[in-house]
């Protein structure tokens, strides 16, 4: 990864607040093309709020979001998707009453190339065979892990350039967590740039190139993931180890 390459995503002093409460307090984050970057931090640190600010789901109080060389601050989410910036929201955001196929079709909403879409559906099914068996069932009938796979498969259907993942392992059984992280590595390996939010700091740092640590709305640490993994502060605060 060459450090001088133009970043695909850059947050510049981004602040987001809920009414008077400032949940994100002017943070700087950079994600370069092809990178897998994680943003870790305790519950309530402001990670989800940051992603929502990037995606246009929450207005920024101040600061800028630059994506692919453009200032996209405040751009509505559906327009960002059309530029390749796609988020898998916390809680997976299933259309529970739609079938698995329909959910995937919605993932490909911005595309018109029917044949290629069909191929991509098959690719998602190869990645997650469980989904293929249940393609005509409604997404609401899936287990949490299957829903997470559908959520990621659905996001891939748009052929994203930058994927924002909000706690993909939340509430999943260990086996499923493993599968989710395998998928993240595979998707990253195909060249998709990823910003990963996780509470499972250890796993997140193990798969990422770089990481940011967020505390009470501020970035308190950042660096190479391997270095963070060995940082005593990180080890004690997030990896559950005594100093």
């Amino acid at each position: 990864m060459s450090a001088d390459e133009a970043p695909l995503l850059a947050l510049e002093r981004v602040a987001v607040s809920y009414g008077g409460i400032q949940a994100v307090k002017g943070i700087d984050v950079v994600v370069r093309k092809g990178e897998l970057v994680c943003l870790i931090g305790a519950n309530g640190a402001g990670k989800t709020t940051t992603l929502k600010g990037i995606c246009g789901l929450l207005p920024l109080k101040s600061g800028h979001v630059r994506y692919d060389g453009r200032d996209v601050t405040g751009m509505r989410s559906f327009r960002l998707v059309r530029r390749g910036l796609v988020m898998v929201p916390e809680g997976r955001g299933m259309f529970g009453a739609l079938t698995i196929e329909e959910n995937l079709a919605m993932g490909a909403y911005i595309r018109d190339d029917r044949a290629a879409i069909r191929d991509d559906v098959e690719r998602v099914f190869t990645l997650f065979p469980r989904l293929k068996e249940r393609r005509r069932q409604t997404a609401g009938t899936l287990s949490g892990g299957e829903q997470q796979m559908l959520a990621m498969g659905r996001a891939l259907m748009s052929r994203p350039r930058l994927l924002l993942l909000d706690e993909p392992s939340m509430g999943l059984a260990p086996l499923m967590v493993h599968k989710v992280f395998e998928t993240i590595i595979a998707v990253s390996g195909e060249g998709v740039t990823i910003l990963l939010i996780e509470q499972n700091a250890k796993l997140a740092l193990e798969v990422s190139h770089r990481g940011y640590v967020m505390e009470s709305g501020e970035i308190t640490l950042d660096g190479e993931a391997a270095a963070l993994l060995h940082n005593p502060k990180v080890r004690s605060a997030y990896l559950g180890e005594a100093l």
Partner: protein
């Protein structure tokens, strides 16, 4: 028996119109949880525009078959209503998207008054005799000479309604924009994360509902033979009742609710006189018996009470099953 069949035929006809209008209510509710009380007035605008087009074509002695004239009139009314429905959402409801729910509701009632007054200015206060240019043909349904009948207009209303409902279901369940509409109804924010322009989907929903309303307006005008600037009020309330009866937000529910309401109303109107006939009580009162000699149909309530049934149904549903026949309980909504 023949009264029953006759009222059933009338009820299904009426119910088809209610169902088409109810679909407009339920689609909008399903996607933005708004009860668009101006929807009945969009139906009225459809009836009025078609009225004017027919009047002009007939007045100009155009040599077209009557059916073609009605079709042309309807094809005029549809885009006008679509434009009205689009404008209502764009100008009035969209700015209130995140306002407390009472605000859009009051706005809807205000818009209804606005549309009625626009119609009042354009078409006047008097009921307009809908040009009955299509000759009514009556078909007998039973062998009995005074038996139940169905007219070509009734057949057309029922047939067109079925085609439109089927078309709508295909659109909603088989096309990309239809799936996007359902996705947006479930979770608009996530729909946006799929690249769906939620505002566009909402506009399309209003446009489709208003197009259906235009056709319903022409059907209603043709069936009753009159159009009036306030005709949308009661029709709208009944269609709303139908939507609630079926389960608001549910397409199948709107269809079922519309048909049921039409049938309940017709059967009610057909039998209420008989059930409340005071002459059954002649044995109890000499004075009553005397009056019944001259007026054997002396009844407490007549078929003019038809409109009451819809509202009795509305109250009963709201009290005993607010989620409607096919609706999920509100708490079940994801």
């Amino acid at each position: 028996m023949d009264t029953f069949i006759q009222q059933l035929v009338n009820g299904v006809t009426l119910g088809s119109v209610y169902a088409i209008v109810a679909l407009g209510y339920t689609m909008v509710y399903g996607i933005i949880q708004l009860i668009n009380f101006a929807h009945g007035d969009v139906v009225m605008i459809g009836a009025m525009v078609a009225y004017s087009v027919i009047a002009v074509l007939v007045g100009a002695h155009v040599s077209l078959p009557p059916l073609a004239i009605v079709v042309i009139a309807t094809l005029f009314a549809i885009p006008v209503c679509m434009a009205v429905g689009y404008a209502l959402e764009r100008v009035a409801y969209r700015p209130l998207r995140n306002a407390p729910r009472l605000a859009p509701l009051i706005t809807a009632i205000g818009l209804s008054i606005v549309l009625e007054n626009i119609a009042l200015i354009i078409w006047g206060r008097a009921p307009l005799p809908y040009p009955q240019i299509i000759e009514t043909v009556t078909y007998r349904l039973t062998s009995h000479p005074d038996g139940a009948t169905i007219t070509n207009v009734q057949v057309a209303i029922i047939g067109i309604s079925i085609v439109m409902m089927a078309g709508l279901l295909v659109l909603i369940y088989r096309t990309k924009i239809g799936v996007a509409m359902r996705a947006t109804a479930q979770n608009a924010q996530v729909a946006g994360l799929m690249g769906i322009d939620v505002n566009r989907v909402i506009s399309i929903t209003f446009i489709i509902g208003s197009g259906l309303a235009a056709v319903a307006g022409v059907m209603d005008g043709s069936y009753y033979g009159v159009a009036h600037y306030q005709m949308g009020f009661i029709l709208g309330l009944k269609a709303f009742t139908a939507a609630v009866l079926g389960g608001i937000g549910n397409l199948g529910g709107a269809m079922l609710g519309g048909l049921l309401l039409g049938v309940i109303e017709s059967l009610g109107a057909g039998y209420v006189g008989e059930f409340t006939n005071l002459c059954h009580l002649s044995g109890w009162s000499h004075a009553l018996a005397l009056r019944c000699v001259s007026d054997p149909h002396l009844a407490l309530f007549g078929s003019n009470y038809q409109d009451v049934f819809a509202f009795v149904v509305l109250i009963l549903v709201l009290v005993f099953r607010p989620s409607g026949l096919l609706g999920e309980r509100v708490s079940d909504r994801a």
